[in-house]
């Protein structure tokens, strides 16, 4: 695996932070036992900092782990663009205080979609490594090479903000930001279908849902201690895997993310059934962007539109 020159700087910085006690732990990634996947780790001892990695196989959104953090301790978080914007949104929602965090920013070249690669090679992946342009994957039958850009997760292809915002220290040089010509292209493509086709797609996809709630657990913005699907008095939606329950789950889960979703795509990557979900949250985010000029995490301290209101709304809606 090619190593970014700043990775060693990152490791020694984390080691120093943990050693001098300025943070109790740092949340990052370490290599796992499977190719194409790395796993989140909490570094509490300086010698453990050496196992930190940061690459395109880091699938999780680490901000989701802040909800499991030890309370009352200062925590370090290694964050890419989406993670830093999730932190901003969580600070606005008072889920975490910015003073409790030490944010270590890293540039992001996009997350590699392990499922795309697995589908391409059609067999078990033994090792994988990446460079700026390429991904090389080894299987029993030999080597496969891919263009990195094409194997990125959809959310990362559409990403406009790969560089972290509002961090305490930045590792490595920022990556060039594009205006995201592909932004919301998934929403536009879906909208171009007829209403009947859209409904057919939505019901067909949600029918595969097994209600494991991995999407919820992976999401940095899903932090309610009692989720509406777990409540039984009143039971808002069916808890079965029947169409009524799965459709309601996907509709309401997405709707709760209106103006809060950072479009990291962690939900989709976590889904064991491979159900597309970002076309739902992206549509809601686009509504917020068009109506209220609101982009999650772009302005520090700004409330999401559905948590605020304005008297100007009187003119926005008819009558």
């Amino acid at each position: 695996m090619t190593t970014d020159p700043w990775l060693t700087t990152l490791q020694s910085k984390v080691a120093r932070l943990v050693e001098d006690g300025s943070v109790a732990a740092v949340i990052g990634f370490e290599a796992g036992s499977l190719a194409l996947r790395v796993r989140p780790v909490m570094v509490r001892r300086p010698e453990a900092a050496g196992k930190l990695v940061q690459n395109g196989f880091c699938q999780n959104n680490l901000a989701a782990y802040l909800h499991h953090r030890p309370k009352g301790e200062r925590i370090g978080l290694i964050c890419r663009g989406c993670e830093s914007r999730a932190v901003r949104a969580l600070v606005v929602e008072q889920q975490v205080s910015r003073d409790e965090l030490y944010l270590i920013g890293v540039p992001c070249r996009g997350i590699i979609d392990a499922r795309k690669i697995e589908a391409e090679v059609g067999q078990e992946v033994l090792t994988a490594r990446e460079s700026d342009r390429k991904i090389v994957v080894c299987t029993r039958s030999g080597e496969h090479r891919f263009v990195r850009r094409k194997m990125l997760h959809g959310a990362c292809i559409r990403c406009r903000f790969p560089n972290p915002v509002g961090v305490d220290i930045m590792m490595g040089a920022p990556v060039p930001e594009t205006d995201g010509p592909g932004i919301f292209e998934n929403v536009r493509a879906f909208e171009a279908l007829t209403a009947e086709a859209r409904h057919a797609f939505f019901t067909r996809e949600t029918e595969r849902c097994i209600r494991c709630y991995a999407c919820r657990e992976a999401c940095p913005m899903c932090y309610c201690s009692l989720c509406f699907v777990d409540g039984t008095a009143p039971r808002w939606i069916e808890s079965t895997v029947g169409p009524a329950g799965t459709q309601a789950w996907h509709i309401v889960r997405a709707f709760h993310q209106t103006g809060r979703c950072v479009s990291c795509g962690a939900c989709e990557r976590a889904c064991p059934m491979g159900i597309p979900m970002t076309y739902l949250t992206d549509q809601l985010n686009r509504q917020m962007e068009e109506a209220y000029d609101f982009v999650v995490g772009q302005e520090e301290g700004r409330q999401p539109p559905l948590a605020a209101f304005s008297l100007d709304d009187a003119e926005r809606f008819e009558r």
Binding site: A195, R198, H199, I237, Q247, V252, L280, Q287, F309
Partner: protein, 140 residues
């Protein structure tokens, strides 16, 4: 016309404190109307709308107070932002736009609800019974 649409009306209580609107609504001939009174349109959760759609309502009407007429000052503004986005989202998922309608009434007027119900039931008759996003209703 054989089809008599089922309409669920979520209505702010300050919108119908004098009954002339409420009773004709429940006896409305062209449709089966169920009026659900809520303390304020701000109380109407998107889940209410979703449950009505899933349980087979052909149409949904949300009645709140006109801007600056809200008894709680801002409940109707909150409702508007949220429910408007939710309606757009359901349309995005394939629901017919005719099925959800918002009416913002002045609490001092009466008769506005009946007019809006007439328009809604006419629109619903032209789109027919609800089938999309109504798995619970179709299973029964």
């Amino acid at each position: 016309m054989g089809f008599r649409p089922t309409i669920v009306v979520f209505q702010c209580q300050f919108n119908l404190y004098d009954d002339p609107d409420r009773q004709p609504a429940e006896r409305f001939g062209a449709a089966r109307v169920k009026v659900i009174r809520v303390p304020c349109s701000g109380r109407i959760s998107p889940l209410f709308l979703l449950n009505a759609v899933q349980d087979g309502a052909d149409g949904i009407m949300v009645c709140g107070c006109a801007p600056r007429k809200c008894h709680f000052k801002e409940g109707n503004f909150r409702a508007r932002r949220q429910l408007e986005a939710f309606r757009n989202f359901l349309i995005y998922l394939g629901l017919e736009p005719e099925r959800i309608r918002f009416v913002w009434l002045d609490p001092m007027e009466s008769g506005g609800l009946i007019g809006a119900l007439g328009e809604l039931s006419a629109a619903l008759r032209s789109v027919g019974p609800a089938r999309r996003l109504a798995p619970r209703a179709t299973a029964n």
